[in-house]
Symmetry: C2
Subunit: 207 residues, 2 copies
Amino acid sequence: MNAKAEIPRKTIYRLSIYQRCLQRLADNGQDTVSSDALSKAAGVKSTQLRKDIAYFGQFGTRGLGYNVQTLSSVITEVLGTARLQPVILVGAGNLGSALLGYNGFNKEGFEITAAFDLDPDRPRPVALKVPIYRHDKIAEFIKLHGVKMAILAVPVHCAQSVANDLVDAGIQAILNFSPTFLEVPEHVTVNSVDLAVELENLSYFIR
Amino acid sequence: MNAKAEIPRKTIYRLSIYQRCLQRLADNGQDTVSSDALSKAAGVKSTQLRKDIAYFGQFGTRGLGYNVQTLSSVITEVLGTARLQPVILVGAGNLGSALLGYNGFNKEGFEITAAFDLDPDRPRPVALKVPIYRHDKIAEFIKLHGVKMAILAVPVHCAQSVANDLVDAGIQAILNFSPTFLEVPEHVTVNSVDLAVELENLSYFIR
């Protein structure tokens, strides 16, 4: 836990990206990769890449670069097997239903095992692939199945109170799609994705 | 353009978030807000908030804080009317179709006006609300309608080449959902959202 606390969150984030690049290199039969080439593929500076990787030991060989398989195994170990985690979706409205239809999560080893909504029976544009339960069953489900991760896609006005319920029931990590900041205890991690903010931010740059 | 170049991208990003908080305060009939309260609502440090806002002038009054309407108007002006931009979606597969079904973009002033796909006629889980054209019509459409923003949700292996086509046709801003780094010319801005990386990153913290 101590070593973990010292590694910056953004480094952990970038490890996922490096891992993806390494997997693509391995798929293409490449054995080694220079830090310049890997950093370029990942879209970071090579000094950043070297610094990120140095948290976990010395892996590069001067002049040869990194062994693709070795570095990939190290990152897998660091990121842990925690990726094979069950995930619940809270809020199966428009965006939530859309996320359920996205099979990219599954491909990466995350399985959305259940969804929860205030109104499980309201009409939805997509036939959902997972069971959808009433909102008041969340705590029971989380405890019964030891769920630690939740995707939150509820309206802004109830996001904080739903987050509180999730945390009380044992959720430790929330991927938040509600466009609001969530206050959570220190042991809980929130990553927020606000699609409209992303577009708005881009729009600034096109004038 | 000079002033723009000096403002960090992350500041522009946070302005969108401040704006959202201010709108909520205005909706609740609040006239003023302290920098502490606003920074807390936005999930940033108050020193950061003050620094971000200082790029655009002196707005706070010591002891009173910010006037909600004034600050909101300033941010609107900075972010510009560019938000009322037509946006095209490229790649109407699983995730792309899901994004089309998400009406949060519309609510924020972005209209997805058309979608493009290698196979416009393949079966989709959702009835799409916009016309879907063959991939080879993109350049013509972009030029004809003066489109500057695109959402990219194509498979990794073709993401870069599709991005190149978009840039050649005049696209200046890309919201990239393909889990890969895109190389673009300096006048083009890319924001990337990788949903699986977000989950993977979270999973690290729950062990």
